[in-house]
């Protein structure tokens, strides 16, 4: 019996073969099995997309049409403490444009076994506070610039420092690492910074003071808010702000399931295939949450198009469109003059292979019925001879 199934291993995709193996009732005779496999093979062939089918346009229409029914506002969650999430059409635009700066970057941090159960709540809370970014301005009360000897004095708030478990030494370390050119002196309740170089102007001191305020003392850069929530018997941490590279390095974090909604970061840390899957998941999530129904294959095609070059490129005139080989196609999308002139400067040849160019010059489009050409060579008729 397994022989008959293995005969079809190159004719049917592995998942279907797996499904058949699982669902096959015991004691099926060989002839019946062969009939089953033949019928499955026939169905599979019928379900394949015909060559020449303009899948791109159909995918665009299938995603665009429900897009017109999506609200342009952000919904407000019924849940009390959920943060602002971009939903609906603005989120889809954000993903498809390949934007690196998101409106509401968010991470879902899954925790390893002992923490996820939530037995030690204090541990969870301390972990959350560990991740949350605290900058110098959060733990200091006052910044003063002493004009006389060009020093900056920072008064520290002892209570806040105790909350996040920080000592003066750590602060000094952080400052010296992130702000060059200053000596830091620890005065128990305050820190004094003195410039190393002899010449110093008030402007420099002011700039240094502003930079000081944003120095990360503790936590992961970029994470502005942390929220532990319980989801289906385990505790996870939802953060506002995203920094996948550093979060995955924490030992309490389950790096198999933690994810972010920033596609660019996923590409950077986990690779292009993961980014492609993340695009599909994110877009599908948005469309499903609006109650609309789009087949995932259309979204898969769009994600493939964005990732085909090896990096995530948005569907803009800088992204996917700039990869197109045809001058006329690029010119017909946006900024025509620029593309035409640049093409003329290097002597580009447009092979008129695709849809847009052939519509422009009124030739049959190489799609569907236009994909075939005649193989017969016309012979002059006998009469003319």
């Amino acid at each position: 019996m397994p022989d008959i199934i293995s005969e079809y291993e190159d004719k049917l995709p592995p998942k279907i073969i797996e499904d058949i193996k699982i669902n096959l009732p015991k004691g099926t005779s060989d002839t019946k099995l062969r009939k089953i496999m033949e019928a499955t093979h026939e169905e599979y062939k019928n379900a394949l997309v015909n060559p020449g089918e303009s899948v791109g346009i159909i995918a665009a229409e299938s995603i665009g049409e429900p897009g017109t029914q999506m609200t342009l506002n952000t919904f407000h969650f019924a849940g009390v403490a959920e943060m602002n999430v971009t939903l609906g059409l603005p989120r889809i635009i954000e993903i498809l444009d390949g934007r690196k700066e998101l409106e509401n970057p968010m991470m879902e941090i899954y925790l390893k076994k002992p923490y996820a159960a939530g037995k030690k709540i204090e541990d969870l809370k301390s972990l959350a506070l560990q991740i949350k970014e605290t900058s110098l301005k959060n733990i200091s009360n006052e910044f003063t610039i002493n004009i006389a000897d060009f020093t900056i004095e920072i008064k520290l708030d002892k209570d806040k420092m105790k909350e996040i478990d920080i000592t003066n030494n750590k602060v000094v370390d952080a400052i010296s690492k992130q702000l060059k050119g200053y000596n830091v002196k620890d005065n128990k309740d305050s820190l004094v910074l003195k410039a190393r170089s002899k010449e110093d102007t008030f402007n420099e001191a002011y700039k240094a003071k502003e930079k000081l305020k944003n120095i990360t003392i503790k936590g992961i850069k970029g994470i502005s808010q942390v929220l532990p929530v319980k989801r289906e018997d385990e505790f996870i941490i939802i953060t506002s702000g995203s920094n996948l590279a550093e979060v995955l390095q924490l030992e309490e974090v389950d790096s198999y399931r933690t994810s972010t909604n920033n596609i660019f970061e996923i590409e950077h840390v986990l690779g292009i295939e993961a980014a492609r899957q993340a695009i599909i998941n994110e877009i599908f999530k948005v469309i499903e949450s609006q109650g609309l129904n789009v087949d995932v294959r259309h979204i898969m095609l769009v994600a493939d198009t964005m990732c085909v070059s090896g990096t995530v490129k948005g569907i803009t005139r800088y992204g996917v469109v700039s990869e197109k080989s045809s001058v006329l196609a690029r010119a017909s999308f946006e900024t025509p003059i620029k593309h035409i002139i640049n093409a003329a400067l290097v002597g580009e040849v447009d092979n008129l292979d695709s849809v847009v160019e052939n519509v422009m010059i009124n030739q049959p489009v190489p799609i569907g019925t236009g994909m075939t050409s005649l193989v017969v060579k016309a012979q002059p008729s006998q009469k003319e001879k």
């Binding site: 229409e61 849809v355 009124n362 489009v365 569907g368």
Partner: protein, 600 residues
């Protein structure tokens, strides 16, 4: 201690803000302080805001003291006799104007019977919150607000009687309803605005039922007999204008019947209606293409002057003729002079528009619809009394739109028509439905408004009883005769050689980018090519240099302007818009080289 702000500027503090505010208001009502001051006490922020700035929207309300309005019967009697006026009431402190902020401190009652000790003001009439057109909708408080908006908009597009001196006026695109009537169900606004002097619609009998599926999706069915008796009949007037313009050099246009030798002379048949002076006579029946005013112009100086030009050189023809789709009877010819002293001729055309399939009608409740079918009177459903509806309205238009006033107007109209009186349907203040139903019962009809109707074609009684009543229906200016448009082949633009745009220029309909996408999605490649063939041209292309060559039809030879005569030149078929694009590239200094490949 409350802070006091005058026009958003801080002016001081007061210890007891409530007393202070009350005192200010009392003094304002006695006219001791100016009456454009409005006082608002914000309890939460503990601030008193005084506003006198210009541009605030304020509305008048009747002042109520201890549950009794200050506007008494005596005041009303004095107003009726014209002894006192509106401004007297303001000065006496009976009515005051409140802006949006001060209204926050008030409790306003809609009607006198709901006044309690806590109310501070009483609405003069709740109808005042609606504008003019919306207050013309009867029983408006039974409608969804969106529908009131739509009803208000539709009434502005209705045909009617716009001025009684229409016969001597030359207005563009005028519609006049032949037999307009005053609505049976009307509101107080109809009386205030003298609606009887410029009525717009007609009271007709309507039944709400489905009839053979021709009134789906908001379509309506009309009774042919009603149309023949004058329902919805209107006339359309449109003037054509010609002016004798003066040009440089003393040359002037001339309004006359053009001679046969002027440039651009049409056929003799086109000028057949013109009299000796070149102007058409009234009551001539004209169609598209017929000339109504003959005019010749001197030759333009742009064309090259020949050396031996005769003095009475060829004038151009510039007559005014009727455009595509226009037709009618000449109604009125006006010969006059404009302010510069040039002779001005205006010819007004009149066309009778009998309702046909495609004309748009509406009730006053935002229920507009297009005529779907015109049924002969004998085929319409009839009641035992012999009453036949003029219009059949589909019931599907009621549930999602929630225009209950449409249904109530039918009962009210039925009562009014049978009892011989007008029914007051003012929004918020209408005759209550219960009373109308009792009256309907006393007139001998079912109080639910339904009747037993019989099928006009078979005579069978309909199983369900049909809701039938009388309503005021308006004809809108969107008539199908002004919109219908078709083109097989026709004029093309000069620059792109593509079909022209617009109904007036006999244009084509654009197959836009998204429509092109549907053809691509179907894979119908050659169909797409055929659709975009409207500007197809055959151009010769030089094989050597790849630019468009010249084809000399007289000598039957092709040559390339760059490479000369001894090169291979092939013809290709492209759209003219593409050839235009290549020309535009050449003008930028870009060399678009075409590489040809044999199709086979």
């Amino acid at each position: 201690m409350a802070e006091v702000y005058l026009n958003s500027k801080f002016v001081g503090n007061v210890d007891n803000p409530l007393e202070f505010v009350q005192k200010l208001r009392d003094e304002r009502r006695k006219s001791i302080i100016p009456q454009n001051l409005n006082v608002y006490y914000n309890e939460r922020a503990n601030e008193v805001l005084l506003e006198t700035s210009k541009g605030r929207a304020r509305r008048p309300l009747i002042i109520v003291k201890e549950g009794i309005p200050l506007l008494t019967e005596r005041h009303i009697k004095q107003l009726e006799k014209n002894e006192i006026s509106w401004s007297d009431l303001i000065k006496q402190g009976v009515i005051e104007y409140l802006d949006a902020a001060e209204e926050e401190n008030t409790l306003v009652a809609f009607f006198e019977n709901e006044l309690t000790l806590e109310h501070t003001h009483l609405e003069i009439t709740p109808l005042a919150m609606l504008g003019y057109c919306t207050s013309l909708v009867p029983y408006g408080n039974f409608n969804q607000s969106t529908r009131l908006n739509a009803g208000s908009k539709n009434q502005k597009q209705a045909l009617g009687f716009y001025a009684s001196n229409f016969a001597v006026r030359m207005d563009m695109d005028v519609n006049l309803l032949h037999y307009s009537q005053y609505p049976i169900v009307n509101t107080i606004m109809h009386d205030i605005s003298d609606y009887s002097k410029h009525t717009s619609g007609q009271n007709i009998t309507i039944a709400i039922m489905s009839y053979k599926g021709y009134n789906m999706e908001d379509a309506i069915i009309l009774n042919k007999g009603s149309i023949e008796r004058g329902f919805g009949r209107s006339t359309y007037y449109r003037p054509s204008v010609a002016e004798e313009l003066r040009y440089a050099g003393g040359l002037i246009d001339q309004i006359c019947t053009p001679d046969k030798d002027v440039k651009g002379y049409k056929t003799e048949k086109d000028y057949r209606f013109l009299e000796d002076d070149g102007i058409i006579y009234p009551e001539a029946k004209v169609k598209e293409g017929d000339v109504v005013i003959g005019k010749t112009s001197p030759p333009r100086f742009l064309s090259s002057m020949e050396e031996y030009s005769l003095a009475s050189s060829t004038r151009r023809e510039s007559s005014v003729n009727l455009k595509h789709g226009e037709e009618g009877i000449v109604d009125f010819v006006m010969i006059t002079e404009n302010e510069e002293g040039n002779r001005l001729i205006q010819v007004r055309l009149r066309d009778e528009r009998v309702p046909e399939i495609g004309d748009k009608f509406t009730s006053r409740h935002g229920q507009k619809g297009v005529v779907g079918l015109i049924v002969p009177q004998s085929d319409m459903p009839f009641s035992a009394n012999g009453i036949v509806p003029d219009l059949i309205f589909s019931p599907h238009g009621i549930p999602s739109r929630m225009t209950i006033s449409h249904l109530i107007e039918m009962i009210a109209g039925k009562v009014g028509a049978l009892a011989g009186r007008y029914v007051n349907g003012t929004t918020f203040d209408a005759e209550p439905e219960e009373r109308l139903r009792k009256e309907l019962l006393s007139l001998g009809f079912r109080e639910s408004g339904v009747e037993t109707l019989y099928n006009g074609q078979t005579g069978e009684q309909y199983q369900a009883k049909i809701y039938i009543g009388s309503m005021y229906y308006l004809k809108l200016k969107h008539m199908v005769a002004n919109k219908i448009h078709s083109r097989a082949r026709g004029p093309i633009q000069l620059l792109t050689r593509q079909p022209t745009e617009g109904r007036a220029k006999e244009g084509g309909l654009r197959l836009g980018e998204m429509e092109k996408d549907t053809f691509v999605a179907h894979g119908a490649s050659l169909l797409l090519k055929e659709r975009f063939d409207s500007d197809r041209t055959v151009v010769p292309v030089c094989e050597n240099c790849g630019i468009i060559a010249v084809k000399d039809n007289f000598k039957n030879k092709s040559y390339c302007p760059i490479c000369g005569e001894n090169v291979e030149i092939n013809d290709i078929e492209i759209s003219y818009a593409f050839k235009l694009m290549l020309d535009e590239f050449k003008s930028l200094g870009i060399y678009p080289k075409l590489q040809l490949e044999s199709k086979y």
